[in-house]
Symmetry: C2
Subunit: 225 residues, 2 copies
Amino acid sequence: MDEVKIIEIKKSIFADNGQDADALRAELKRKGVYLLNLMSSPGSGKTTTLIQVINRIKDRIRVAVMEADIDSDVDAVKIREATGIDSIQLHTGGMCHLDAEMTRQGLDNLPDGKYDLVVLENVGNLVCPAEFDTGAVRNAMILSVPEGDDKPLKYPLMFSVCDVVVVNKIDVLPYFDFNLEKCAEYVRMRNPKALLIPICAKTGEGVDALADWLLAEVKSWKENK
Amino acid sequence: MDEVKIIEIKKSIFADNGQDADALRAELKRKGVYLLNLMSSPGSGKTTTLIQVINRIKDRIRVAVMEADIDSDVDAVKIREATGIDSIQLHTGGMCHLDAEMTRQGLDNLPDGKYDLVVLENVGNLVCPAEFDTGAVRNAMILSVPEGDDKPLKYPLMFSVCDVVVVNKIDVLPYFDFNLEKCAEYVRMRNPKALLIPICAKTGEGVDALADWLLAEVKSWKENK
């Protein structure tokens, strides 16, 4: 198998990220590509969750992944080995987030017309990525049980901008003081419309719901062109 | 008990953070105050670890805590209730890190001559806080077992700037794929001199070693004025 492609992302030179994000979204709409921006803390299980979801949907839609990281290509390799789909690695060179222009630099390295869904796995960080619209159709985030149910109180913006909050590692609920109902309440405080999906990426529990949501999203995005 | 003091931190106007950090460190040296900068991902257990450490050292040295958070005063209240020591809350207003001038704004709210040790609990983030010298004598970080042993590969700068890496939540090692030796090896790749201290803040296991290190550090800082 070929080496994973590594793209060194350059700092954006455009001033208006909001405008750039809207333009990218409109372009993706024309092309029929659904872009999902997946965010979380370091180590919450983004890559493992993606592998589980992709293996449930890859026979029905065409998927590619862009793995953003400050360094290393561990995740892009892992995704490709575990799912067989195309994945590229974006190096941010120390930058703590991706904006729309940086996301576009990544998308430019994926052939046109080949994918229905592109997932951007953002840099592991609950602060900065929330501040930048990447041009994605939806923002999703993962909160893992060991991080604690109080995170929506401490990282308000991240929870406000996410359409879906995936609560991962529910298999270890017995070993942590994490109250799923309290968490749901805190999430609603930040974003009453957010969808909460509890899963265990390691065992696959609950992942069907996430995969079904994503399939329905992509279908609707492509049909209402 | 009084309300916890909340300080709204303003953006720094100084251009040279390195210079400002050195000046702050020199000033703290003159005053005999040891400043520890504690960093980690969201939810790795900074506050719980601090409570355990403080309760072991508060009868021997005078300690205060500055809790930096984007929002909420949950942590400052928790620290004070669990240890009885002075703690103040710094609100960063969305900013993802603290630099030396912002740290100084916090220190200005603690009375002179009253403390031997001030701990700055930085914003939960493995990226941005690593880029800014706060003026602290030492940087310490917490990596919790559920985050995974590969974090030094993905967040190189954070691990390079830390003198101590505390590995927290070792009680759940049986439930996660976390190899302590592999982790130590990755940490050494980034910083051969880093001290690795495995603990469980929940049960107190291993915390004595961390408390002893900190006591020795503060003693040496104050004696070599």
